[in-house]
């Protein structure tokens, strides 16, 4: 992974000093609340329902074991002993004291971690495929491009006060969208042209939230070295012409809709053509420098399906099940990609204790070259595990509660912190997730259902990505009471070549107690309708919305 040099470290140290000073001036009453707000937000600090929340950046989900141990230390020292993996691959602490945040950031800087631009109306953490660099399907490892974007966006002088937040995602797998790029302000698809040259297909104006919109293509092939100047040009157009009178209409998607993508393209290209051959253009030397940080680790020459693995799989049905569900094929023979699920019953999705973090850091050192990844499904990944070690690893993970073999299944839910923590939420989301987990605990049933994305958000800001769940649940407030609206048919494109879609609302909302029954009716109808292993999404797309609606609400008279 990327290792800081003296320039990167100096910038981060200067950031820590800057925020320490800002906090001192704030506590001295020299910065009013309203003006301190963007300063703390751009350092990852929200003020939540009960306490501040600190969102630590995990650039494109990559961490090393020293960083994971530092997160454990922060959880133990400044928080209530646990952390939370967010849907954008970041790590959140729900209980730090505001005054201690500068010290936490200083501690994190020691291991090259920070909370830079994890909130606020600026360019946020760039996300990508959690299997980047270890799957054979990708065109090229997307992480160097994400790191180049990270550096370019960090303390960008012109784009610290955009109309709204700005999110970029990068996908590098053909015919699949493994980073939900259609749902981002800018989505970058790494492609190769007929001449074999690397470039990017660029989407603009996607996003969830109140007005979910899929991004549109603004450029079909952008050469590799033009990445940063194109981003500069696009965001410069947005910064000047994006709406600032209404925060709900301030995202770039609204500007793109208002101008039309053709006009947007004209404006961007005019500016891009001015700057594209200037000094801001990426160099092959820089691309090479950053790519050097992501070369393969020292893989051994191994074979797939070693005898130890084959016999363990035959002997232990539960192990075989975990292998099938939570372990994925690696590009290198003899290795495997292992997902550690943070979805066991009784724990909010994505939560992890300090003890688990320490253990996971040890496992990363022992089994996976000291590196770990966080995923947008709120799980963790050990990306480089030798197949001969899988049985040992599984046993340890079981004891840690991280081997639930449900990756991609109904109970591998995405869920925001919701009304239990978040001041923005209309309704709680964690208890809904828990009720559903309890109701659908039976592994045989979950396996029989197959892959289903169930996503839960506590409000229309959509941190739980409910629009792109095959089943989406949205918490709504009705005269002070919490209700839940269900939508069907959303898809982030991660596992379906048919592409992305936004969910359609099923009908009137439900009380929380009713939710497990509602989900059961939907699932029963799916099971009844499916033929030959059709997935939930395939059945929904085949039979249409209305039959599902009638299955839940009954037929109209």
């Amino acid at each position: 992974m990327y290792v800081y040099d003296q320039y990167d470290q100096q910038l981060l140290n200067e950031r820590v000093a800057q925020f320490k000073g800002q906090m001192e001036r704030y506590l001295d009453g020299k910065i009013p609340e309203e003006e301190f707000l963007p300063l703390r937000l751009q350092n990852g600090i929200y003020v939540q329902r009960y306490a501040p929340m600190l969102r630590v950046a995990v650039p494109y989900g990559a961490m090393n074991s020293a960083q994971v141990r530092k997160l454990a230390y922060v959880a133990r020292t400044y928080d209530k002993g646990y952390a939370h993996i967010s849907t954008r691959q970041n790590v959140q602490f729900n209980w730090p004291a505001l005054e201690q945040c500068p010290q936490i950031l200083a501690d994190l800087a020691e291991v090259q971690m920070h909370a830079v631009q994890t909130s606020g109306n600026c360019i946020r953490n760039t996300t990508t495929d959690e299997y980047a660099g270890v799957i054979a399907e990708e065109i090229v490892d997307p992480r160097p491009y994400c790191e180049i974007i990270r550096q370019w966006s960090t303390f960008h002088p012109e784009f610290a006060f955009l109309p709204r937040k700005f999110k970029i995602a990068v996908n590098s797998v053909p015919n699949e969208d493994r980073a939900a790029i259609t749902m981002h302000d800018i989505g970058i698809n790494i492609v190769k042209n007929d001449a074999g040259e690397i470039g990017y297909r660029v989407l603009v104006g996607g996003g969830l939230g109140r007005t979910p919109i899929l991004g549109e293509e603004i450029c079909d092939f952008l050469p590799e070295e033009d990445l940063l100047t194109y981003l500069d040009a696009t965001i410069r157009v947005y910064n000047q012409f994006g709406r600032r009178d209404n925060k709900y209409k301030a995202r770039i998607k609204i500007l793109v809709k208002a101008l039309g993508v053709e006009r947007m393209r004209e404006l961007v290209e005019e500016e891009f053509n001015r700057i594209k051959d200037g000094e801001g253009k990426l160099t092959q030397a820089e691309l090479e420098r950053v790519k050097q940080h992501f070369v393969d680790p020292a893989y051994k020459a191994l074979s797939d399906e070693p005898a130890a693995l084959v016999s363990a799989r035959e002997e232990h049905k539960a192990f075989a099940r975990w292998l099938e569900r939570n372990v994925r094929k690696h590009k290198k023979a003899g290795y495997a990609i292992v997902t550690l699920t943070l979805k066991q019953l009784g724990t909010p999705p994505g939560d992890i204790t300090a003890e688990q973090l320490d253990k996971v850091a040890d496992l990363a050192d022992q089994y996976s070259f000291g590196e770990l990844r966080s995923t947008h499904n709120q799980n963790l990944v050990l990306a480089d595990v030798e197949q001969t070690e899988l049985f040992d690893l599984w046993q340890t993970l079981k004891s840690l509660g991280m081997a639930t073999p449900t990756l991609g299944l109904l109970t591998d839910m995405i869920c925001c912190p919701g009304g239990d923590f978040c001041a923005l939420a209309n309704a709680k989301s964690i208890p809904v997730a828990e009720d559903i987990q309890k109701r659908f605990e039976d592994l045989d049933y979950l396996w029989d259902l197959g892959e289903i994305d169930l996503n839960i958000s506590g409000c229309m800001n959509a941190c739980g990505h409910h629009h792109i769940g095959n089943i989406g649940v949205l918490g709504v407030d009705k005269k002070g009471e919490e209700f839940y609206q269900v939508s069907l048919g959303g898809n982030s494109g991660g596992n379906d070549a048919n592409g992305s879609s936004l969910g359609k609302i099923l009908g009137p909302s439900f009380a929380r107690e009713a939710m497990p029954d509602v989900i059961a009716k939907i699932l029963d109808f799916y099971v009844d309708q499916r033929t030959d292993g059709e997935s939930f999404l395939e059945v929904y797309r085949r039979v249409g919305h209305t039959p599902f609606k009638e299955a839940v609400y009954g037929k109209p008279d």
């Binding site: 320039y7 963007p38 012409f241």
Partner: protein
Amino acid sequence: MANLINTQGLIEDSELTAITLTEWQENKESLTGQKLQLTLNSDETADLIGADATNFQRICIDFPKFADGRGYSAARLLREKYGYTGELRAVGDVLIDQVFFMKRCGFDSYALRDDQIVDDAIAAFSTFTSPYQNDANDQRPLFRRRLN
């Protein structure tokens, strides 16, 4: 009266004929040749003045609220696209924690909001030693400056 500074400290203001964009557009001929100060509101983008920018001794860009970041792009475009080399002044809600960004976007004088502490603002100009991006003062991003 706002404290007027550059990166070194307090500076004296100089009298110029102050005009708005509309006044310029309607009276170009009669105004040309005078010593002029143009003030751009935050919704007046740089392309509206364009190459005419070189007619002014000073251009003030207004920040009605510190969170309105349009002025940063306006400043860069005036410097980098329209060749403006005169004084570029940030006016309005100009705060300590914004001046470093403003400097990088090409401003060279700052009318601090009344309550802002001058010494803290001067110190803020040196917040970061070697930023990643290119800017109005140095067209080379860090990747063209790195000595490794």
